[in-house]
Symmetry: C2
Amino acid sequence: MHYFVTGCAGFIGSNLVDRLLEGGHEVTGYDNVSTGLREFLTDALQSPRFKLIEADLLDTNRLTSAMHGADFVFHLAANADVRHGTERPSRDLEQNTFATFNVLEAMRHNGVRRIGFSSTGSIYGEPEVFPTPETCPFPVQTSLYGASKLACEGLIGAYCEGYGMQGYIFRFVSILGERYTHGHVFDFYKKLAANPDEIEVLGNGKQRKSYLYVQDCIDAILTAVSHPEAQAKINIFNLGTDEYCAVDQSLDWICGELDVNPVRRYTGGERGWIGDSPFIFLDCARIRSLGWKPKWTIDQSVRRTLKYLVENKWLFERG
Amino acid sequence: MHYFVTGCAGFIGSNLVDRLLEGGHEVTGYDNVSTGLREFLTDALQSPRFKLIEADLLDTNRLTSAMHGADFVFHLAANADVRHGTERPSRDLEQNTFATFNVLEAMRHNGVRRIGFSSTGSIYGEPEVFPTPETCPFPVQTSLYGASKLACEGLIGAYCEGYGMQGYIFRFVSILGERYTHGHVFDFYKKLAANPDEIEVLGNGKQRKSYLYVQDCIDAILTAVSHPEAQAKINIFNLGTDEYCAVDQSLDWICGELDVNPVRRYTGGERGWIGDSPFIFLDCARIRSLGWKPKWTIDQSVRRTLKYLVENKWLFERG
């Protein structure tokens, strides 16, 4: 198979590329390297079956020609910064919604029929049902990030119906693991490295969140796209663990690993930022019914991520 | 109150403008007159309280300056052609999703806090629950039109949360009545005027659809936006009647009114076109709980619409 992976230099994208190459596949990676890192493709670039195209998804000509010959598109490129959406509202629209439209158009022009897409549990906004299933009551959006991902899901659905494509939509909780470059473990570690005696925590620390280890996430994706029971026109899967933790709990693990005991200063409120969900906990029965289950707990994932960051301090020097 | 109405020269927009002016309000109408008709504003233009800006929603400078001083935005401008979405997929994205983003940005720059938006029952795709309530299971999109309107709803939700706005989202069934310029009554009448002996029907004629008379629709909108029990951050309402009819049934009424008896040639299939919903029937208990109810049945609405078209044949000569 020839896979086309957008966001191939990103956290999840680069791990997926490595796994696809390990599987013997041909991979064309597409990334504008704006937040992705070439360093994450060091292994991949040694493979004769990997080709990297450094270009932007808004460059429709480059995109369309780069996709030529692909069998399957994994569209992972995105502005994944849910927290700062309101500072520049056009960013999610451009980098997520427009970019996804361009990917779908390039697929149509190249006759590529299948797409896997990284959506998010943020599209559930502030749900009333926990754990939240894929078929929960029609949610209201609370963040520009979630709204843009919802728009992408809608486009994919309409393209599958309108042009005979097949779509896999994965609604992720937050992903942890090697090559993780932003999120709460990153922020906490960065703050504690600068000052181990005191730390600012966004919100009241009681927000409950779910996390999934990146290799478990990729296992789930690869399970779904090849499973005989997931061959509908549109296949939607929550991806997460059957557990959650409080922000404070995760900070306990991090402080324990680093052997520090900072005073915690809370910014207060149930939400860490505008559009933050106080509680994210997804019902993953559907993907589990295909035989997948996560190998790592949230506790283990947080610790593995921290270990990776401790061993890769160069990530902090870059920004 | 000073209302800003996008799509003011359209079917629903122009009727809303007339009603707002009757209510003594000041109205700025914004329309690029691409599908709207200046003729629909003949009455409005005689009012000193009405101002028409002929410009496009993609012209952000004109839009932002035109909105200055408004208290409330009714955003009705849209590409409303659900049927031909797959012929030019960028149209829904540009005229619906981008345009709505521009309207929200213009509101933010002008400090306008309240928006009423014309969404659609098409965002329910092919629902499994009938009548379909606002809180039905998270739907999958089946048309580019529905997908674009879903994207608009998402943006409005995120703006309300992120910037302290208040939104009213109205999910319409198909609207009928004076100034109706496209849809099945228009098509059937046009075909029968050309050839009363034979008519082509898209699909198998058994698609079940709901309709609402335009003045009932506007009554519902005006009821909701001023109701003390509809003052949440986001207020979502289905707007329809508690009934539906088959395409064939509607054609019976039309043929009866015109006194013709054509042979019906069906294109076949449960759907009239790609993305068509075989059954649209919305649960309107929420808007009814505010005291609103429709004054006209579907049968009456179809006949009124036909009468309007018979008396306004110039509409057909224009396109």
